[in-house]
């Protein structure tokens, strides 16, 4: 019986150089993506915490500069002490679930800090994601038209209490419903809502949000003692917000 010796050799799984390099290349690509995102994020705001809030408004030529934040004025909606050392300017979208969450966070902060802080609300509807948000922003301005700052915040609080975000609300029903609940004149409210009188104001808020570097919502700028500015993106936890407020109070 003839014995055939089996030929043994290493598995024929030679690896093409391109394939063997795929993992390192992926890590490099991932690193480049991360670095690119960071770079683009940083490029947006070179002034960072050094700017002053009360500088005259400049034409928003470049985006992402905190110095371009529109000074807090009479057409702003302020909760808390308007003369507080620390002001939190929030640019928010009424259909964004994270704005809804952050609304509660800032309510808590306002309750805890009392007269030491002022919360300034500005509109930043992301039309491409939330088609209903701009009309909702108009509704809050219509509430303010009738009942001033108090009506504005009542309307806003009730909106976030009632609605689930992400364009799921029947605004034809809910907007007048809230107006009725907070005892606004419904006819005037409906007429105001149909008008375009607040379109320019809301668009100005949106433009200012982008000019200061906002690329998502909620986008906030904490303005501290001596006008130092701290950009804060997203619905950050209350403890982080409080730490930033404390820092702003010290002017550091």
């Amino acid at each position: 019986m003839e014995h055939h010796e089996h030929e043994t050799k290493m598995p024929e799984t030679t690896v093409a150089p391109a394939t063997t390099l795929s993992m390192p290349i992926a890590i490099v690509i991932a690193g480049v993506l991360i670095a690119g995102a960071i770079f683009l994020g940083l490029r947006g705001n070179s002034s960072s915490v050094a700017g002053t809030a009360q500088q005259p408004q400049q034409v928003a030529q470049a985006t992402g500069d905190l110095k371009q934040m529109k000074p807090i004025a009479g057409d702003d909606h302020i909760r808390g002490n308007p003369n507080a050392q620390v002001k939190i300017v929030e640019y928010s979208d009424m259909e964004c679930p994270f704005c809804k969450r952050f609304h509660e966070t800032l309510k808590q902060a306002t309750a805890e800090y009392g007269d030491q802080i002022a919360w300034v609300y500005r509109h930043f509807p992301l039309d491409q994601l939330h088609s209903k948000a701009r009309k909702e922003a108009v509704a809050t301005e219509c509430a303010a038209e009738q009942g001033g700052n108090t009506a504005f915040w009542k309307y806003m609080d009730r909106w976030f209490e009632l609605t689930p975000s992400n364009n799921q609300t029947d605004i034809d029903t809910v907007l007048p419903q809230i107006a009725k609940e907070i005892e606004l004149d419904e006819a005037k409210f409906t007429s105001c809502l149909a008008s375009k009188k607040y379109d320019a104001h809301i668009e100005e808020n949106v433009q200012n949000a982008t000019a200061t570097g906002g690329n998502g919502t909620p986008w906030s700028i904490v303005v501290g003692k001596n006008g130092k500015q701290y950009p804060l993106s997203g619905a950050q936890p209350i403890e982080a917000v409080k730490q930033l407020i404390d820092l702003a109070k010290q002017g550091k």
Binding site: S22, S48, K252
Partner: protein
């Protein structure tokens, strides 16, 4: 099989540390990304107390519960863990100078890139994708997707899962010379 490969690799503490460090890095990147400017300015500002420089970034970790949807938080954590595992398996392989798992590496590579692209808060425009494409363009692209960018994260999880399986399979193969079937 996967269990055996994991045992083989992670019985060395250095690979556990490597895996954990990479996972932590990816996770930190995801939660810090929206506030990278603020973090850098606080860290580099000499007037900011050291305690704040250390504690503020740690406090932002909690934003995984406040600034992410359940879906995006889930895939962000899973992508971070799987990337850590994949990198550790890859390094183990390279150091052992064994055959490279072609499929696993390619899929893992695509998974890492896809996962990184999809990380962040899709609902409100804080994705790496939006950062890279610019504000308006990025949000426009996301608005076209049913999961608002979460697709990239899910794809990343799937690809990294497959890659982990293939790499583990390769590692658990005994190091023997194979008998070519054609010669039998």
């Amino acid at each position: 099989m996967i269990k055996n490969a994991f045992k083989e690799v992670f019985r060395h503490p250095s690979y556990l540390i490597l895996s954990g460090a990479v996972a932590l890095l990816i996770f930190a990147f995801a939660v810090w990304l929206p506030n990278i400017r603020l973090l850098l300015s606080l860290v580099t500002d000499p007037t900011v107390p050291i305690s704040v420089k250390v504690s503020f970034p740690i406090r932002l970790f909690e934003s995984i519960t406040t600034n992410f949807t359940t879906l995006s938080a889930s895939y962000t954590i899973v992508i971070a863990l799987l990337t850590g595992i994949n990198v550790a398996l890859f390094v183990y392989y390279v150091r052992k100078q064994r055959q490279l798992a072609q499929g696993g590496l390619t899929i893992g590579s695509v998974g890492i890139v896809s996962g990184i692209v999809g990380m962040g808060c899709a609902a409100c425009g804080f994705l790496i994708l939006t950062s890279l494409l610019g504000t308006a363009g990025g949000i426009g692209v996301i608005a076209l997707l049913p999961l608002r960018g979460g697709e990239f994260g899910i794809l990343g999880v799937i690809l990294l899962g497959i890659a982990t399986y293939l790499l583990a399979k390769q590692i658990s193969k005994p190091m023997v010379c194979e008998v070519p079937i054609t010669n039998l």
